[in-house]
């Protein structure tokens, strides 16, 4: 009997592990393919069955030294960093207020209402607004557009972290001589530092990855990295090798940083609904 039970457990485990392997292959194969493509000479890129080839740095050299990609990376960095700084400055007090003062699940959820709408609905008013402000094809234009979705997400993200800080900490700080605001920035903010870091990374990734707004709002010098990546799809065809290099530059740093804060990312995404 025990033998059959153990056999069943082992078979079950084997099945689950096989599923995991399949899932991993599905997720990782595109990354591997992009990586391999970036190292292929341009004339071999379109031949998918060639696995054995001479490694070439042509694509990397071309993208890093002979294209506008470094400028686009810089643009994306500026947009991402400024967006995150503003989003945290606005989202932190907002999340704290949602956490500390009476807020129902419905009001909390309303923060995400904007996220429920397709970006296409937002883009027209945003475009017209930025046009009036002469901010089309500027980094500030993209930053303002990104703030429309990064602020709600960062706010939602941080509520859970503030919920977990005992109220007694700020009570204690106020008794110790702080005003409510001093208690917030001297005691509460340092306590939720891991959450702030995770929210910052998450907001940065959202901004860094956005192509929709950036594509419509930028054109020339203010192009961000995702728009530039799409630019490798030209009338003459897709420059797969260069595109692969740009994609790797876009995703690898983000993946590495996300890996180190994944615990906080998962916690924050729950918005206080999930405790770990």
């Amino acid at each position: 009997m025990e033998y059959f039970q153990s056999l069943r457990t082992r078979t079950g485990n084997l099945f689950l592990e096989s599923l995991l392997v399949v899932a991993l292959v599905i997720v990782l194969f595109p990354f591997m393919w992009i990586f391999v493509t970036s190292l292929k000479p341009p004339d071999l890129v379109a031949v998918p069955n060639v696995w054995i080839f001479e490694i070439s740095g042509v694509n990397w050299r071309s993208v890093l030294l002979e294209s506008n990609i470094p400028q686009n990376i810089f643009n994306s960095l500026i947009v991402g960093i400024v967006t995150v700084v503003i989003a945290l400055a606005v989202g932190c007090p907002a999340a704290y207020s949602f956490s500390r003062f009476k807020s129902t699940a419905a009001t909390r959820f309303s923060i995400l209402a904007a996220e429920m709408m397709p970006p296409a609905i937002m883009i027209l008013p945003i475009f017209l607004l930025l046009y009036q402000l002469s901010l089309i094809d500027t980094l500030w234009g993209v930053i303002l557009a990104h703030l429309t979705f990064v602020i709600p997400v960062v706010t939602w993200f941080l509520i859970g972290f503030f919920d977990e800080v005992p109220r007694e900490l700020e009570d204690q700080a106020m008794i110790d001589g702080c005003t409510h605001f001093q208690a917030f920035y001297k005691v509460i903010l340092p306590v939720v530092r891991p959450g702030l870091a995770a929210a910052a990374i998450f907001g940065f990734v959202l901004s860094w990855n956005d192509m929709f707004y950036a594509l419509i709002l930028t054109g020339g010098e203010s192009k961000t990295l995702p728009v530039a990546i799409a630019g490798f799809w030209t009338f003459r065809g897709v420059e797969m090798g260069k595109m692969a290099v740009a994609i790797l530059i876009a995703i690898v740093p983000v993946l590495i940083v996300s890996f180190f804060v994944q615990k906080h990312l998962v916690r924050g995404l729950g918005g206080g609904a999930v405790k770990f």
Binding site: E168, L169, Q172, A173, D176, G177, C178, Q182, V187
Partner: protein, 374 residues
């Protein structure tokens, strides 16, 4: 240390009245314990004194200062919370010095005072550690140290021992009392543990439903409870309550099992209160004559060490008694036995209002040595 006065304090949350007409004075250097069942309003009262909640009516005076509208930081009080509320990102030293720093005390003075208090509490070696590296007892000491270092007008404690295990709680209770004797600081201490209240307070305030039920010394509260609620809440095991009637100076329980003479109590429906330790095993005739003898059966015996709680069963009535273990050698569960109720220590309460009817003969004094169970 100034006198703290609460005048007609009211607190409402929406339509819900949490505290109603609280008038209290905390004397200079007095250790007052607010005690009562969960939800009675004791923590709310403490938070009102601290300024963490605003009163709906009434005044709070510290000395001559009306602090009712002042922010917590302007009240010159210190508070120790149930979960200690240590700042997790700061070291013990920074935690203790935070209040002084926030008040602009210079670094040298902060260091001198923190070191002095740390030495007093025996936590010098912990000063560089973070709160998460400390045990519950150590965290407790740091929280107390943080309060002491500020030398405030008033100390507030909100159930500070309830997160500790039983052994540590007893130790910390003693330490807190020693500290109080040393500092002679006016202290308000909230607990739901009546033993803690009895053991620590110079004065106990029993609260229920937002109203003060009784204020007095531990002896007054224990030996002369003013109503059924106080009588039932203070004492462990709780006071035995027996419904009955007084007619022509004789109390008869509803089931007719307990019949005893009263001293001038008016006729009517009453509740007889008997503390478990006022039920004795008679060892001589004098005991029988002094009290009211009852025949019963030892239903359950719970040995606590030197003492035991015995559940005594009579026909329709059940009483709990506390006997010393040495008087239990001849009893097993189910044994018939005779017990005596100490007539000088009975409590009578009006069955309708729950208010006390009689004066106890002992006037709150213990007469050690009487009876067989001590």
């Amino acid at each position: 240390m100034p006198i703290i006065k609460l005048e007609n304090i009211q607190k409402k949350f929406g339509q819900n009245t949490v505290l109603d007409g609280i008038d209290l004075v905390f004397g200079e250097g007095e250790f007052t314990v607010l005690v009562g069942p969960s939800g009675c309003g004791k923590t709310t009262l403490l938070r009102l004194i601290a300024g963490l909640e605003q009163v709906s009516g009434g005044k709070i005076l510290i000395g001559d200062r009306d602090v009712t509208k002042l922010e917590p930081r302007e009240r010159d009080i210190a508070m120790v919370f149930q979960n200690y509320a240590l700042y997790p990102h700061m070291s013990v030293y920074e935690n203790m010095g935070f209040g002084l720093k926030a008040r602009g005390v210079d670094t040298g003075e902060i260091k001198r005072r923190v070191m002095q208090v740390a030495e007093m509490l025996g936590i010098e070696v912990l000063l560089n550690r973070k709160p998460k590296e400390l045990s519950g007892g150590q965290q407790q000491r740091v929280a107390i140290g943080r309060a002491v270092v500020r030398d405030p007008s008033l100390f507030l404690f909100d159930e500070p021992l309830s997160n500790l295990d039983a052994k540590l709680r007893t130790e910390m209770r003693t330490e807190l009392l020693k500290l109080h004797r040393e500092l002679h600081a006016t202290t308000v201490y909230v607990t739901h543990d009546q033993e803690e209240a009895m053991g620590m307070g110079d004065c106990i305030v029993v609260l229920n439903d937002g109203v003060i039920q009784q204020r007095g010394t531990p002896r007054e509260i224990y030996f002369h409870p003013i109503n059924l609620l106080v009588a039932g809440f203070i004492g462990s095991p709780s006071m035995n309550m027996v419904h009955g009637q007084i007619s022509a100076g004789t109390f008869t329980s509803l089931d007719g099992v307990i019949v005893l003479e009263t001293k001038g109590q008016p006729d009517g429906d009453v509740i007889l209160g008997v503390r478990p330790e006022d039920i004795h095993r008679p060892i001589n005739l004098a005991d029988r004559q002094h009290g009211c003898a009852l025949s019963c059966r030892a239903d359950v015996i719970e040995l606590l060490g030197a003492r035991a709680i015995i559940t005594l069963a009579m026909s329709g009535t059940e009483l709990k008694a506390v006997f010393e273990e040495r008087y239990l050698k001849d009893i097993v569960e189910g044994s018939p036995l005779t017990v005596v109720l100490d007539l000088d220590r009975l409590h009578f309460f009006d069955a309708a209002t729950g208010q006390r009817l009689n004066e106890t003969a002992q006037g709150g004094e213990l007469d050690g040595g009487r009876g067989a169970n001590g």
